[in-house]
């Protein structure tokens, strides 16, 4: 680690001045010890900040799962709307393109399920005596519930079409 240069020292002594780091170009500012309200400076990030690290990319992918799920739901809504045309006019969505879109949306839905149910143990607090149930046990229970619910709903959907 290199010693502080006079410039660094002068920056450190300037209480209340903006300090930018060369690595991420994020400006941070510590408020001066006065009675005035603290001044909040918005953090400026480049639009492509999420491409810098794999973790950021996976985060954005997790957020993007909602788009895929909602897009597939809109397609399902189109099927529901086609019901109004009667038996003669009804045609369910199908074909290779629809299947390909569904496979992509299924992958996004499963990614959402995996990431969110993994977090379930962190935001669910189940008291057990003077302690709480382990987050790992809660997460495993949620994945078990996912398997059971998936089998049950898939069975009902197939049974309804038989």
């Amino acid at each position: 680690m290199s010693p502080l240069s006079p410039r660094d020292v002068s920056h450190a002594q300037l209480d209340g001045e903006a300090r930018a780091t060369a690595s991420d170009r994020v400006s941070a500012r510590m408020p001066a010890a006065t009675a005035e309200p603290a001044i909040a400076y918005p953090v400026k990030q480049p639009f492509t900040w999420w491409t810098r690290r794999r973790g950021y990319l996976l985060y954005m992918l997790r957020e993007f799962t909602a788009v895929g799920i909602a897009a597939w739901m809109l397609l399902f809504l189109v099927e529901v709307a086609r019901m109004r045309q009667g038996a003669a006019g009804y045609q369910p969505l199908g074909g290779p393109l629809f299947v390909a879109i569904s496979v992509v949306c299924l992958a996004l839905a499963l990614w959402h399920s995996y990431t969110f149910l993994s977090l379930a143990g962190l935001f669910m607090r189940i008291p057990l005596g003077d302690r709480t149930v382990s987050p790992r046990i809660i997460a495993r229970a949620m994945f078990g519930a996912l398997a059971v619910v998936t089998v049950a709903i898939a069975g009902l959907l197939i049974w309804g079409g038989a």
Partner: protein, 132 residues
């Protein structure tokens, strides 16, 4: 809390009096919708979107079975919950991600994303409850 949310200008930090109940309610709604969606959405996409078109029977492949299923009010309510969870997740995540990508207007993005989500839910309810 800040009194100004846009970039490029100063904003003074003003502590909020008491908890932000609206934001807490929005977060609670997201947690509920995301858990329910995580549990029930994959089965629908798998059966109706992948297996159904490939030949596995599914309730929406024929008009008769689809209409019979939708004649049950419980099925309509269930499908409305399915749509609501999906659209709410979209609105909430778009609300946050768009701001993280640099769009400054918190209120504007929220109104647009939750407004579109609400409109989608109203359309879904109309189609489900006024259809055959």
């Amino acid at each position: 809390m800040t009194t100004h949310d846009s970039t490029g200008s100063r904003a003074h930090h003003v502590p909020r009096k008491g908890p932000n109940r609206l934001l807490g309610l929005i977060w609670a709604g997201f947690a509920s919708a995301a858990v329910v969606g995580a549990l029930i959405v994959p089965a629908h996409i798998l059966v109706q979107g992948v297996l159904g078109p490939l030949g596995v029977p599914s309730f929406d492949r024929h008009y008769g079975t689809f209409a019979r299923a939708l004649s049950d009010p419980l099925v309509k309510i269930y499908l409305l919950v399915l749509f609501a969870c999906s659209f709410y997740m979209l609105a909430f995540r778009v609300w946050y991600v768009v701001r993280e990508l640099g769009v400054p207007s918190k209120l504007g993005v929220g109104v647009v994303s939750f407004g579109l989500s609400g409109a989608g839910l109203v359309i879904a309810g109309y189609l489900l409850f006024t259809g055959p």
